[in-house]
Amino acid sequence: MAINTANFTDEQLVVEIRENNKELYSEIMRRYQTKLSHYLKKFFRSQDELDDVLQEVFIKAYKNLYGFDVDKKFSSWIYRIAHNEAINHIKKNKRKNISLDETEWEIVDEKLDLHEEFDSKQMGERIQRAMGELKEKYREPLILYFFEQKSYEEISDILRLPRNTVGILIMRGKAKLKDILKYE
């Protein structure tokens, strides 16, 4: 009998998948492909690389489903896997990439109160460069905060940092980003 999973939470889906309904995992992938793809774009410019890593993320998540605590948020858990896979891949290939969508620089502009009068393409490139120059410890929480709209609590679970530390890193990251953009 087919199960109607539309109203299932992610955590309920995981319980079903564990109990031998492995085909329901496609629903998990449908829910998270776009989001994770969007997140991983901050790490990879190449679509092929992104697809490879995304596939690895879903495979790893499936394999370790019994390691997920259903009392916690599935979203934070799978984002953590995506984050770790991205970092591992970058370290292996010794790359330092940061790639923003055309309109994402506008989010940065608004959040940092820059109000720069630059051509949008130029601004996008400047912000991309500036984000790339930031240390990883500031860049990662900023990406999750600015572009994935994650709360401090969620960022704490994804990056395995105390909540207060997340707040401090975001505050300092914003300040440093503003400085880099000012003096560029």
Partner: protein, 272 residues
């Protein structure tokens, strides 16, 4: 983009359906959690025990006594320090900290809180254990060569070893310019010179003494010597008793030079 997403979805689901990708058993995760939990508990308990043994060592061996000689005894203090116990303690505390970091919940608070909590627990636990006889029992197991004590031998043995710059033991003979002293290892003759700083109380057979000086051709030349209080250096005392048994005064010594086995006070006058 939809085509790509479908491609990824299909590839992953194919691997799952064909069995190429499988769920890791829930028992593996359970074993991991239990393993980390057990390892952490064992590490913490060993750290507490290590700290307790270090306190016991400092209290019951000759180590701290050399500090009472001031700067002259400092090198011998360093020589007799329980380095292995302290290093083991540090390693265990670091291991416990690492295991805390591996746990799922430790990231919620700054690691410093856990570090302070860990150290406080080890210190308080070690101090509480000093009110028990755990350390003495371990000493007994170690030096009576029981199997249970073999693990602790390298840590406690250092407390009874010979020192280059110090000596401690029970006087068994008082000579004109020498003492014969029973140490936990052997009988040793120590030489007193005109420059030797002696205590004001008389030196009597059966009394325990600690001295600093230097070894010249295997003979210990004493610079400074002190009598030990009856409650001090219990590990040394027990070491001497194990080696030589109860104190037996020599038949040919005058009464004034004898000390009864149960007392550290002189009978009358002094011999040295």
């Amino acid at each position: 983009m939809n085509e790509t997403q479908n491609k990824i979805e299909n590839e992953v689901m194919n691997k799952i359906s064909s069995g190429k990708v499988q769920l890791r058993s829930k028992y593996i995760f359970l074993a991991e959690k239990l393993g980390i939990g057990s390892a952490f508990t064992l590490t913490i308990l060993l750290a507490v025990l290590c700290f307790n043994l270090a306190l016991f060592y400092l209290r019951a061996s000759d180590n701290m006594a050399y500090l009472s000689f001031g700067s002259q005894g400092f090198l011998t203090f360093l020589e007799s320090f329980p380095y292995l116990l302290v290093v083991a303690l540090i390693i265990l505390v670091f291991c416990a900290g690492w295991l805390i970091k591996k746990s799922d919940l430790s990231y919620k608070k700054p690691f410093g809180y856990f570090a302070v909590g860990l150290i406080c627990f080890v210190v308080i636990g070690g101090i509480i254990l000093t009110y028990t006889t755990v350390a003495e029992k371990i000493e007994q197991e170690t030096f009576e060569s029981h199997i249970g004590g073999l693990f602790f031998k390298p840590f406690l043995m250092h407390g009874l070893e010979a020192r280059r710059g110090g000596i401690v033991g029970r006087i068994t003979e008082v000579g004109g310019d020498y003492l014969v002293v029973q140490t936990p290892r052997a009988l040793e003759k120590i030489i007193l010179t005109s420059d030797t700083d002696l205590p004001s109380q008389p030196l009597l057979e059966g009394a325990f003494v600690v001295a600093i000086g230097k070894r010249v051709d295997n003979i210990f030349m004493v610079t400074k010597l002190q009598l030990i209080n009856p409650e001090e250096m219990q590990m040394i005392r027990r070491g001497v008793h194990r080696r030589f048994g109860k104190f037996q005064p020599r038949a040919d010594m005058p009464n004034s030079c004898r000390l009864s086995p149960s007392s550290s006070k002189p009978n009358n006058g002094g011999c040295f």
